[in-house]
Amino acid sequence: MNVIAGRPMKVIAGRPMKVMTARRCRSVKGRISEVVLSGELLSPEDERHVGQCLACQAEVAQFKMIERGFSAMRVQIATAPPDLVNRVMAGLDRTPIPWFRRRVAVSVSAVSAVAVAATVAVAMRRRQAAA
């Protein structure tokens, strides 16, 4: 007789049902946080399991409570220090590079690189020709 904690158990496909339930329970419990907090879905079998399993229901309740806490936190606004705006303005680099100048800078460096490469290539050919 299969006995865990002194109780007889059914055997399905050679495995005690309680063991299978415990495995499902572990697997479902591990995903409940994502289901409650990130909106992931459980399979119909897993949902049925949660409907019958008090431990999983307790887990759902815990994470729902955490989600309520997050909702309460979402509406909180901390007040910035009164001198923040002045501090930011005092710390500004007064010469920001405008986008067109950045593009020009990039173009100039690209053209320079090509020119250097071409010069080197021409010089090497001349040297080869002279040899």
């Binding site: 990130s38 309460a72 500004l92 920001p96």
Partner: protein, 188 residues
């Protein structure tokens, strides 16, 4: 609705002016977003003074980066991303300085506090407990929880901002959730 559209158009105008080097326009942007940026910084670094430094650094980086801001995302989203980077850099620079706790947290205004006082009281208690539990997490864990569960960032956005893979972000979040649950359970 119309008000929101006007406000957003107004902000676009401010951004365009700031991109052209108009400091007054930039100052107005800073004024509008300072509390949001400071709140995010506070949640990430967990220390009021450090959060002010992060917010300052974020706005200065934004000023430098404005020429490259193309408006693909909202300004708020963009400045929040910069804030996360600034917080990350500052924390790295300071090593594992995890400043005390949220006991020295900022004065918090609860904009949801409305008629249902009992419910509001419950929420306040729950929020404080959750804040305490968040405080027990490691910095990387707290960062993913704050960004995902409070700010609603996707796993992909978190991964990109923190320079980790999406899978790593998911795993970190999963572990953080379970640690949060354990801390809250231990409190009982």
């Amino acid at each position: 609705m119309q008000h929101a559209a006007v406000k957003s158009g107004d902000e676009e105008h401010l951004i365009t002016r700031a991109q052209a080097g108009d400091e007054d326009a930039f100052q107005e942007l800073v004024r509008r977003h300072q509390h949001g940026v400071f709140t995010l910084a506070m949640r990430l670094v967990n220390d009021r003074e450090m959060a002010a430094d992060v917010a300052q650094d974020a706005f200065i980086r934004a000023w430098r980066g404005l020429p490259t801001f193309r408006g693909d995302a909202a300004f708020k989203t963009w400045i929040h991303r910069i804030t996360v980077n600034a917080a990350w850099t500052l924390k790295k620079r300071l090593g594992r300085h995890t400043a005390t706790s949220l006991d020295d947290a900022p004065p918090i205004a609860d904009v949801s506090l409305s008629g249902d006082l009992e419910r509001a009281g419950e929420n306040l208690e729950l929020r404080e407990r959750l804040r305490g539990a968040l405080n027990q997490l490691t910095r990387p864990q707290r960062t993913v929880v704050v960004l995902k569960d409070i700010y609603g960032w996707s796993h992909g956005e978190i991964a990109e901002a923190l320079g980790i893979t999406v899978t790593a972000a998911k795993v970190r979040l999963h572990r953080a959730h379970h640690r949060l649950r354990d801390h809250l359970e231990d409190e009982r």
